[in-house]
């Protein structure tokens, strides 16, 4: 198959939230912060959308997965139809 060239370049938007503000700590105990990084279904938002740097994206992922174990965040939710 011939390869297609992607039309859209993913805009490298803003800086990582956590790199910019070093006072923000990522904690699995803090669902108020973590909820910005999951979708309505409860899935973790990919880095190209969330704008995080690699390191903080990994920390967020770890924190969300821990929070899920402890029922601070859902594994999945049902969306209204």
């Amino acid at each position: 198959m011939a390869t297609k060239r992607r039309r859209r370049a993913f805009p490298r938007r803003k800086v990582c939230r956590f790199c910019a503000d070093s006072a923000l700590k990522i904690e699995y105990k803090d669902p108020k912060l973590l909820k910005y990084f999951i979708t309505e279904r409860g899935k973790i938002i990919p880095r190209r959308i969330s704008g995080n740097c690699a390191r903080h994206q990994r920390e967020i992922t770890l924190a969300v997965k821990r929070a899920r174990q402890i029922a601070l965040m859902p594994f999945t939710t049902t969306l209204p139809h």
């Binding site: 699995y28 402890i70 029922a71 965040m73 859902p74």
Partner: protein, 137 residues
């Protein structure tokens, strides 16, 4: 000594006496393994993101403690065996902590009472704290 924190959830319909027993039990588990409990924070009832054992809410406790490497297995074993405990997670905070520098006096369970929805910690209700202060090791 390593520093760990364990967050666990107790059945929401436990009485105050049971909560006290659980505190004493885990304090004993830690000290028996030559560890030290740094803080024991009862965060109160929160709504769970999903039902655990048919409960929609749970009573959260956060315990911060020091101990040698084998202490976690013992703490978790006790958590698993106790039927009042619904879930737990242990995180290592630091290695090579000097126990002397963090010597605390008698640790009492601290209550951070707050409305159920929020996850922030708020100052404990004073009335509950005076009740807890009678606790001695």
């Amino acid at each position: 000594m390593r520093r760990y924190e364990t967050l666990f959830i107790i059945t929401p319909d436990s009485s105050d006496d049971e909560l006290k027993t659980i505190f004493e039990k885990f304090q004993a588990v830690v000290t028996n393994k030559k560890g030290q409990v740094l803080s024991y924070e009862e965060q109160g009832k929160k709504k769970l993101a999903y039902d655990i054992k048919k409960h929609g809410k749970g009573y959260y406790v956060l315990m911060d403690y020091l101990g040698p490497a084998d202490i976690v297995a013992e703490v978790e074993r006790n958590l698993r065996l106790d039927e009042r405990i619904l879930a737990y997670i242990t995180v290592k905070l630091a290695d090579n902590v000097d126990p002397e520098s963090l010597k605390a006096e008698v640790v009492e369970p601290r209550r951070t009472a707050k409305p159920e929805e929020s996850g922030e910690e708020a100052p404990a209700a004073a009335a509950e704290e005076t009740e807890r202060e009678e606790e001695t090791e």
